[in-house]
């Protein structure tokens, strides 16, 4: 074990995968010489410009060429600098990559990873701060990963690279500086397994990405209130570990879902619907969601802080369940 930050852990995982498989390459804007959040710089230093490829400002071509390269036998790891630019690559991602395996009757594989940076918190305003995971989860054929710790990021980026499907890997920008113990050497986590980040018996808080950290902070506050909160980190949204959610509810009987994305049609609604359908009898209280409001992300630091769910809001939602 070594202490690594979130970005370093992703780079560590990528470097190991690139060593293991020469068909893995990294591609995107400034990924080699001046990566926006620094992640792939170490990969470039280790592997050079053939395997860590800078592109022009051409998101469509980054994503579109990755689809063709993957179909023709390579394993691209494409970086889309901000998740907000998903709209630019949506045809290549959702109409091409996601559908090719099905549309072509299972004869073609499209093994690619889209790494992309999500989230508010640095005053980047409405076009550089969104959490758009629900755009991805609404498209069958795509997998959606949203880790919250350096160790999970290392294990899941390796799994994403090895997966034979198109995978979107969402990296919250505030997580890059967070540190944690990370297993040394090869470390691969299964895709589709949630993780109990804190055990508790009174309420299940389901979240992912940076909201796991906020939920853990809320659990600390709740402990002082005499409430033992369980924090379940989904880690991957597609495929979803339904069993872990239902199993936790079997013990706690209360559910609060926390995500940074806006509320309407957010992935929290999906989790709530599944629980209402398959876990209704487990519930002793209504399901609560703690999310951003249905607005664009504001610039003003005051407004931005009000936009992003925090520990106090999560605590209040839990306490409202009585």
């Amino acid at each position: 074990m070594a202490v690594r930050n979130f970005g370093q852990a992703i780079a560590d995982g990528l470097i190991l995968e690139m060593e293991r498989d020469p068909d893995v390459y990294i591609v995107g804007e400034d990924v080699a010489t001046f990566p926006a959040f620094g992640v792939t710089r170490a990969c470039y230093e280790r592997f050079g410009a053939t395997r860590v490829r800078d592109t022009p400002v051409s998101e469509t071509a980054i994503m579109g060429h990755a689809v063709g390269a993957a179909a023709a036998g390579l394993r691209p790891v494409a970086e889309i600098m901000f998740m907000d630019f998903l709209g630019i690559i949506l045809d290549e991602l959702a109409n091409q990559a996601a559908k090719m395996h099905y549309m072509f009757g299972g004869t073609m594989k499209v093994p690619l990873v889209v790494r992309t940076v999500s989230g508010a918190g640095i005053g980047a305003a409405a076009q550089h701060s969104q959490s758009l995971e629900a755009w991805v989860t609404h498209t069958p054929g795509l997998k959606m990963i949203a880790p919250s710790t350096p160790a999970d990021a290392k294990g899941l980026i390796a799994a994403a690279v090895r997966d034979d499907n198109p995978v979107v890997f969402m990296e919250h920008k505030l997580l890059y500086a967070t540190e944690g113990e990370v297993p040394d050497g090869e470390y691969v986590l299964p895709i589709g397994k949630a993780d109990i980040k804190r055990a508790g018996s009174d309420v299940t808080i389901v979240s992912w990405s940076s909201m796991v950290q906020k939920s853990l902070a809320a659990a600390d506050l709740l402990a002082a209130d005499g409430v033992a909160a369980e924090v379940l980190d989904l880690r991957t949204l597609v495929p979803l570990d339904k069993d872990a959610i239902l199993e936790s509810l079997g013990r706690t009987h209360r559910l609060v879902i926390v995500h940074e994305a806006v509320k309407t049609s957010g992935f929290g609604a999906e989790v709530a619907a599944i629980v209402a359908d398959e876990g209704f009898d487990l519930l002793d209280a209504p399901i609560k969601r703690v999310t951003a409001p249905d607005t664009p992300v504001p610039f003003s630091p005051v407004l931005e802080a009000a936009f992003v769910p925090d520990a106090a809001k999560i605590r209040a939602a839990v306490l409202s369940l009585g």
Binding site: T60, G73, E92, Q96, T107
Partner: protein
Amino acid sequence: MAVERDQLLDMYRCMVKIREFENRAHDLFLAGGLPGFLHLYSGQEAVAAGVMATLRPDDLIASTHRGHGHVIAKGGDVRLMLAEILGRATGYCKGKGGSMHIAAIELGILGANGVVGASIPIGVGAALACQYKDGDRVSVTFFGDGASNRGTFHEALNLASIWDLPAVFICENNLYGVGFCQRDHMRPCDVAERAAGYGFPGIVVDGNDAEAVYEATATAVARARAGGGPTMVECKTWRHHGHFVGDQALYRDPAEHAEWLARDPLLLCAKVLASRGWADEGALLAIQDEIRAEIEEAVAFALASPQPALSDLLTDVYSD
């Protein structure tokens, strides 16, 4: 790179096969047996035949919504193609793709595409795979005049150029994008001129002359194989039918249509074969008869093929 007798005969045979295939698909559609959209390739056969004659089996192609000709010329099995466009379980994609989504990775066919212009970056990515794997394979991307106004075209051409990819771009300029005449939808009207904007050669050829298509493409492919980077070949051509079956193409000038029909690529090729003494009328008729029989057999195969099982609905979403 002059064309020899057997090569031209093979191209002719390929063109006849495409034409006969499309004629039967047309009949099946009109008879009501064929679901969805059907974009016929008839009239553009010299492009598919001429281009594919320059390729090796391990070269890759990315195709379009008007893609039957590409698949046939790249070696596609007409039985599996007909089964696919009829939505049958025996088709190339188990009936899940249809006319606009035939793919056959084992033949290097990365798929037809329902999204205009989407094939272009995909073809460029395949060219990167060819280059990356240290071989001398090439990737050929087909697209129409209409597609060359998509952003995908511009971004992908630039990427192919800066990476010196073994990519050949084949623009099938049939002068219309649905009902929108090219002189009204883009300037300049030679799509190949746009290649210069990205720093590589673009040439215009008569897309109804299989030999001309072959020669220009052979040069482009040789350049790509040798590491010389991309080339665009623009083939001026004409679709014989409407945009899809059902479209009467009333937006086209009947006189212009008649001129192009008189320059049917099959007729032009037959004339060349005859004038050089490479095949007489009897030999050409024999080819046609043989291919008609093959297509009839394929139609029978497709019509006798089972529908997909309902359980197939839920399979192949993910690869495991």
